[in-house]
């Protein structure tokens, strides 16, 4: 999909999305402008936008990688939660064991491992039992959310939280520093930017990236080239799950400082990251602006909720329309150049080799 068709689809999506806000009784233009003014025009709003863009960047980078290899991982939400759980486990169990300066690296490592394991589970189901990864990874999202609830109401329920279903707060060394006056947890932002850059570079310059692009571009030619699709799928699931897991670690250690309700840990970042990856045209570098854009819509969505009295689901609807237009744009961009009289018509010559 070219940059032009992406932008075109984006414009159509914004138009239809604001129209849908109009149907709900808001002035569409005013709604659009308050979304973007709310999220980009003030220091506070922009800080919030960046805060929300951090998990979107990490998960979006992972999804861009997976989608490039034609692996439809819809499970970033669950992988993010698994990462948050693993990071929380590390923070709570290691607090008296590790020197403080090792705490943050340990959290991120645990988060990445947790997300990767959750991703690998879907990958294993796919490669071992031919469970479609869309179904497998999606269902694992629900399991992850229920598992988080079980932990915070059950074994991990904090003694110091006045009965709230949270784990105990992380110790200071396991809490991520923020940029003053914002909630932007800087270490995670740095990791996210590095991940996007690294993924971009890996796709172009690493052997594994070559294999992913070959497999995504033409699975049959990839097989002919000796690329093992199952192995590549497993690595991709681990990578994209691991990146989502890093996002989960960042949310737990940077925002909440404990494990809390699954919908509070993530608020749908794993799903929004799908849109982030598509808006970026599956290019990891472009995931950075794309995550800021989507983060802005999420923040702006909160803003129009309060200022224009629209329901919270209005912005989900808006996002859904955006994703649909992007997918639709992709579809039309692919279809337009072919002008054959009929899909049955063949190549204009007799049967020929391979037409068994």
């Amino acid at each position: 999909m070219t940059a032009r068709s992406t932008l075109g689809a984006l414009a159509v999506g914004l138009l239809l999305g604001s129209f849908s806000l109009g149907v709900m009784g808001a002035d569409p233009l005013q709604a659009l402008s308050s979304i973007f003014l709310g999220s980009f025009a003030s220091a506070y709003g922009f800080g919030e936008t960046v805060t929300k863009a951090i998990p979107l960047m990490l998960a979006g980078t992972g999804l861009a990688l997976a989608f490039r290899g034609r692996l439809w991982n819809i499970g970033a939400e669950g992988q993010l939660l698994a990462g948050a759980v693993a990071a929380t486990g590390a923070a709570l169990s290691l607090k008296d064991l590790l020197p403080g300066f090792l705490m943050v690296p340990a959290l991120f490592a645990a988060g990445a491992a947790g997300g990767a394991a959750w991703g690998l589970l879907a990958g294993w189901l796919k490669t071992r039992f031919q469970v479609n990864e869309v179904i497998g990874s999606l269902m694992l999202n629900y399991i992850a959310a229920e598992a988080v609830q079980y932990l915070i109401y059950g074994p991990w329920k904090g003694a110091t939280q006045f009965g709230f279903p949270y784990t105990d707060n992380f110790c200071a060394a396991a809490t991520l520093p923020v940029i003053a006056g914002t909630r932007v947890h800087a270490p995670t932002l740095a990791v996210a930017l590095a991940a996007a850059g690294g993924a971009f570079w890996a796709l172009r310059r690493m052997r594994f990236g070559f294999e992913v692009r070959a497999l995504g571009g033409n699975p049959e030619a990839a097989r002919y080239a000796g690329i093992d699709p199952a192995r590549t799928a497993l690595i991709l699931m681990a990578l994209s799950g691991g990146l989502a897991g890093l996002a989960g670690a960042g949310e737990a250690a940077g925002i909440h400082h404990h494990l809390t309700y699954p919908w509070a840990v993530s608020s749908g970042y794993g799903y929004s990251a799908i849109i982030v990856a598509w808006v970026a045209g599956l290019n990891p570098l472009l995931v950075v602006p794309s995550a800021l854009f989507l983060g802005g819509i999420l923040v702006g969505g909160d803003a129009i909720q309060t200022s224009m009295g629209l329901p919270a689901s209005a912005i989900s609807l808006f996002n859904g329309i955006l994703l649909l237009s992007l997918m639709g744009g992709e579809f039309f961009a692919r279809r337009r150049p072919q002008r054959s009289p009929s899909p049955l018509a063949g190549e204009g010559r007799d049967g020929g080799p391979g037409h068994k």
């Binding site: 571009g217 049959e220 037409h355």
Partner: protein, 501 residues
């Protein structure tokens, strides 16, 4: 009375005529065979008749009246039905649901019940028996074909076009099909039967039209012709081009295959108990009509398909069941069929495609890192040696023409000192210049000592390049002969599964 008449049909693709002045007529109650090699224009002609293509010139008469056929809908309205080589059925739906799908006049509620009743009628009338409630994916190829026939008949077809109908059938299923067709024509329906199997033509048809290179090479009444005469018409009896091969004594044995059995996609053996060998500096040409196990043989030899049984030795090393990287390491190279589908990744650059089968080895890859400069150098040298256009390593491979893609693949595969080159339909669809180029490169590799297994439907190509010729039919080699004084007609007979006189 003439049921169908085609007059002077012409159709060009990109300036190349696929059909040129074709006349064809079919009488009511007649089975007319349309015979010809691949690329002769049979399928194009039938696609015109079914409204999938518009002819550039010529007219079509149905029941003596000029007919404008602009779409399959028009064809169906005129009582023309087509059964494609590839069935157009929905696997998860039942037979009756497939029949009801897209049909006008079916009841809105439970259309499949109505379809099932109609299917009973056809079963009684023509012996076309398919269980209406059976899901299509459970049906055999023969049953699926019967379902396609029912679909055509229920839409009121009185003239049926069957494109290579027996290619997917067992012998018993083919016999059943022939019986059904005879019953239909006894009721005044007509059939056009496309094939290149001479034996079937002789058994089934009343009249035969032979196409060659887009023109009618001749017509005959089945009762008054012989398979030999038809083979001559198909091949045109042009003198075989003098072999450009330099005579040289072949070297040691490179490939030895014994008892090789390979399953096709449907699980039935596509290659059965095959045994042969190819020596260094030798081209073994495998002639035969596509679908007789050639693809499966090539895939087994190159590690893309695991054989069921048997042995594949490459220079003495047992290689059956190894993956394609292991075989590549033994010196096996593969020029695959259906180039754009298997040979290149269209979205990747020429440079990346130039190393598609070697990207993981030095100098292109060290410790997991690709060396773009090395890849580029490789592509530049291929572009220079093979005259690939456009001469840009950065161009997306998908933008190259078929000939240039094949040059790229051939350059990539022939590079270095391959022990065995498996080339499948290497010049299919290429223009004359590119064809010559590809053939010369293969002979060059032979001269350098490579063993070449050439799988091709193009008899002229096989005869020109091969030291020995095998004819493959239904998973076996009917004969392996020295390429000296071979009779094209006899080979053509063998390709069609006939026995030489």
């Amino acid at each position: 009375m003439k049921h169908l008449e085609l007059r002077g049909i012409r159709k060009e693709f990109g300036g190349v005529p696929a059909n040129d002045g074709i006349d064809l007529s079919v009488r009511s109650g007649e089975i007319a065979a349309l015979l010809g090699e691949n690329g002769a224009g049979k399928t194009t002609l039938m696609n015109i008749l079914y409204g999938l293509y518009r002819p550039d010139a010529g007219e079509i008469l149905v029941d003596g009246r000029p007919a404008a056929i602009r779409s399959p809908k028009d064809a169906i309205r005129l009582g023309i039905g087509m059964v494609h080589q590839h069935f157009l059925l929905i696997g998860r739906h039942t037979a009756a649901e497939n029949v009801a799908l897209g049909l006008e006049g079916v009841p809105f509620v439970r259309p499949e019940r109505w379809a099932a009743r109609r299917m009973e009628e056809f079963a009684a009338r023509y012996g076309l028996r398919v269980r209406p409630e059976a899901p299509v994916w459970l049906l055999s190829a023969g049953q699926q074909q019967r379902l396609e026939l029912i679909k055509a008949l229920i839409r009121g077809a009185r003239l049926l076009i069957l494109d290579e109908p027996t290619s997917v059938l067992t012998d018993a299923e083919a016999d059943e099909l022939f019986a059904v067709l005879r019953r239909m024509t006894a009721e005044g329906m007509s059939v056009i039967f496309i094939t290149h199997k001479l034996e079937e033509v002789m058994r089934l048809s009343h009249a035969i039209t032979v196409l060659r290179r887009g023109r009618v090479a001749g017509t005959a009444s089945t009762a008054e012709t012989t398979p030999e005469a038809l083979a001559s018409l198909m091949t045109g009896l042009e003198p075989v081009a003098p072999a450009a091969r330099a005579q040289r004594a072949p070297g040691p044995e490179v490939l030895r295959v014994e008892g090789l059995t390979v399953a096709g996609d449907m699980g039935v053996p596509a290659v059965s108990e095959l045994a042969f060998s190819v020596r260094s500096g030798e081209v073994l040409g495998v002639a035969g009509v596509s679908g007789n196990g050639q693809s499966e043989l090539a895939e087994a030899l190159t590690g893309l398909r695991r054989p069921e049984r048997g042995s594949i030795r490459i220079s003495g090393t047992e290689a059956a069941g190894r993956d394609c990287r292991a075989l590549r390491a033994l010196g096996v190279r593969h020029v695959p069929e259906e180039r754009p589908r298997f040979g290149v990744v269209g979205d990747m650059s020429v440079a990346e495609n130039a190393v598609l089968t070697r990207y993981h080895e030095p100098p292109f890859c060290r410790r997991g890192m690709l060396d773009a400069a090395e890849m580029r150098r490789r592509a530049e040298s291929l572009i220079a040696c093979y005259g690939i256009r456009p001469p840009s390593p950065e161009a997306r491979a998908g933008t190259l023409s078929g000939g240039n893609i094949q040059k790229l693949i051939l350059g990539r595969e022939a590079d270095g000192k391959p022990a065995l080159i498996v080339a499948v339909h290497p010049t299919y669809g290429l223009d004359v210049g590119a064809t010559e180029f590809v053939r010369e490169r293969l002979l060059e590799k032979r001269a350098e000592g490579a063993a070449v297994l050439l799988i091709s439907e193009d008899l002229e190509e096989v005869l020109r390049l091969s030291d020995r010729v095998a004819v493959m039919f239904e998973g076996r080699f009917l004969d392996v002969r020295e390429n000296r004084g071979l009779d094209r007609r006899e080979l053509m007979l063998l390709m069609g599964g006939g026995q030489p006189a």
